[in-house]
């Protein structure tokens, strides 16, 4: 891979009585898919807003494509494409009109517009919807159109803030196919935030953010290795009893999941499991050995699971503060 397309040093954002981002450092290489992972309210959107020139940082610097995010806003804006969490399409206009306006906003050369609109619509499979009013589109189609629009001016970095939030699983998968296609076809750098673990697995590197700080930054593989070994997941007829017995005989921490299963970590999963089933007198019903996921990584780093549904007070506060309003 080539040069650093995003360079962030000591970036922070403080609001009156709340430190949204507490000084982070990171670099993203050209052509990378860089994932920004963390629970709601961790400071992901605030960071993206600073990187994309929407919000001025309280301190630190950020450079994109070599341009400073505060001093050279317009140069940065020409270099990036942005797909927000909430739709920013004009739903009263047609897909074509939305795209045409974008070309004009970004000064795409007149003789290239037709060709590029066709090209981006083809990437997201919306060629046949070109003259339809956006209001009539489904949630997934709107998302795709937004991704297409974000590509029109050939940005060097595409920022996707929770690109699949609020979409059904099938549509989510489709959106991911398009994003991967993008990376292959356009060679574009993708910087995305998500709180879906499985989505972060696709990234080349992942930064884990919690309470406004970066707590880990590496490839998903490395992060998972750091958890240490494999995850054993069992279900028993008597979880309380089994938990006590396993903790006593193997000196491991056993956690009970919300589905009523017991999980714990061991270093050599496949050999452990043979002896474990043979020797233990626990009434085991099912045994499952798996590699750690990024969810386990987060659990390992913070002692908490990434909750997708709960919206904390702080999160609400963050939402009301976010954006240019």
């Amino acid at each position: 891979m080539g040069k650093n397309i995003v360079e962030v040093t000591g970036l922070k954002k403080y609001y009156k009585d709340f430190q949204a981002v507490k000084g982070i450092d990171l670099t993203v290489e050209e052509g990378e898919i860089f994932g920004f992972l963390g629970p709601n309210g961790a400071g992901k959107s605030t960071t993206i807003n600073m990187l994309s020139t929407i919000t001025n940082p309280t301190g630190g610097t950020a450079k994109i494509n070599g341009y400073d995010n505060v001093k050279e806003k317009n140069k940065v804006r020409e270099s990036i494409g942005l797909i927000f969490q909430e739709s920013t399409l004009d739903e009263k206009l047609t897909a074509n009109e939305n795209l045409m306006l974008h070309c004009k906003f970004y000064k795409v050369p007149k003789n290239k517009r037709e060709e590029r609109i066709r090209e981006v619509l083809q990437i997201v499979d919306l060629e046949d919807k070109r003259s339809n009013i956006v209001e009539t589109f489904s949630g997934g189609m709107k998302r795709r159109l937004e991704i297409a629009r974000g590509l029109l001016h050939y940005p060097r970095v595409l920022f996707l803030d929770e690109p699949t939030v609020g979409l059904d699983p099938q549509t989510r998968n489709h959106i991911w196919e398009y994003i991967l296609k993008l990376k292959e076809k356009a060679g574009i750098t993708i910087f995305l935030t998500t709180h879906y673990m499985d989505e972060a697995e696709i990234c080349d590197r992942v930064a884990v953010m919690d309470h406004g700080e970066l707590i880990a930054l590496d490839t998903p593989e490395k992060l998972k290795n750091d958890v240490g070994g494999d995850i054993i997941e069992i279900s028993t007829t008597d979880n309380q009893d089994a938990k006590k017995k396993i903790e006593e005989s193997y000196q491991v921490d056993v956690t009970e999941t919300s589905e009523g299963k017991l999980t714990f970590q061991v270093s050599e999963g496949s050999s452990f499991i043979v002896d474990f089933v043979k020797e233990s007198d626990i009434p085991i019903q099912t045994v499952n050995l798996r590699r750690p996921t990024l969810n386990d990584v987060f659990l390992h780093l913070t002692g908490r699971e990434i909750r997708e549904e709960t919206v904390s007070q702080r999160d609400l506060m963050k939402r009301s503060m976010r954006g240019p309003h």
Binding site: I54, D90, L93, K107
Partner: protein, 275 residues
């Protein structure tokens, strides 16, 4: 430059697409002109002695009101055009605009020009009432009306943008505008002749930009120079400021100055309010 054009174009496309708004915009002028105007007409002419012979017999209230109705339409459309700025904030499109490399100044100018254009079109649409109310309007008058309407609309759209840049919700915007509309309208000479007003009211009339706007429309449509002086006075067509009868070109200058002031304020406010 192209950015300004794009912002303008979006407002114009959306105006023509919204059929309900297009037809709805006829409702208020129609009611004022036909229900209010025709109703008041008889009462007013008997009060000012229009039923007797003499120059005042020519006083026709509906005819008097017509330039004011054009003023009302231009005013309404222009100021409410800025509502789209607040709605764009609410529905997210403002972010698409603001993260683009366009300058804030082009965005603000594009918005004001878009609102002005739409207001001129709506103002011109009011001319469909002409055959029903007995004013005679020729082609030359229409040619003169268009730039004047545009100038007025530009000033009012700028005021609208200034308000919209200071507010976050469309409800807030609508409240503020409703509070502004009525005093500006009633104290502009659009609804009744501005004769014998209390001094304090006269001050408001003179600082109201709509007064000069409506008076320009009256000068173009009613042709006061061809009227008997008594009738002209009854219709309140001799607008004076510090005992000086203000001319058409002076009015242009007044509205031009108001435009420059407000478009500057609105642009500054718009540029500052967004990050």
């Amino acid at each position: 430059m192209e950015g300004i054009y794009a912002i303008w174009q979006r407002d114009v496309i959306k105006f023509f697409r919204d059929k309900a708004r297009l037809f709805g915009s006829f409702a208020m002028p129609f009611m004022f002109l036909i229900l209010f105007g025709s109703g008041m007409s008889g009462a007013l002419s008997s009060m000012i002695g229009g039923n007797t012979a003499g120059p005042l017999a020519d006083f026709d209230f509906v005819e008097f009101m017509f330039p004011g109705i054009i003023g009302l339409t231009v005013f309404n459309t222009a100021i409410f055009s800025a509502l789209s700025v607040v709605q764009d904030k609410e529905f997210g499109y403002m972010r698409e605009i603001l993260v683009s490399p366009m300058s804030r100044v082009s965005i603000a100018i594009g918005k004001v020009l878009g609102g002005s254009t739409v207001a001129v079109i709506q103002g011109l649409m009011m001319l469909v009432f002409v055959p029903f109310i007995g004013v005679s309007i020729n082609f030359f008058m229409v040619l003169k009306l268009i730039p004047v309407m545009f100038l007025v609309a530009f000033a009012i759209s700028s005021i609208g943008l200034l308000i919209a840049s200071s507010l976050k919700t469309s409800q807030g915007f609508q409240m503020v505008v409703q509070i502004l509309i009525f005093p500006m309208l009633f104290l502009s000479g659009a609804m009744f002749p501005l004769n014998g007003m209390p001094a304090w009211m006269d001050v408001i009339v003179k600082i109201n930009p709509l007064t000069y706007s409506v008076d320009m429309f009256k000068k173009i449509i009613l042709q006061p120079e061809q009227m008997a002086p008594a009738l002209r006075e009854a219709m309140g067509l001799d607008l004076t400021i510090f005992d000086h009868v203000i001319t058409f070109s002076q009015e242009i200058i007044v509205v031009l100055i108001i435009s420059v002031i407000f478009v500057t304020l609105a642009t500054i406010k718009f540029s500052k309010s967004e990050g």
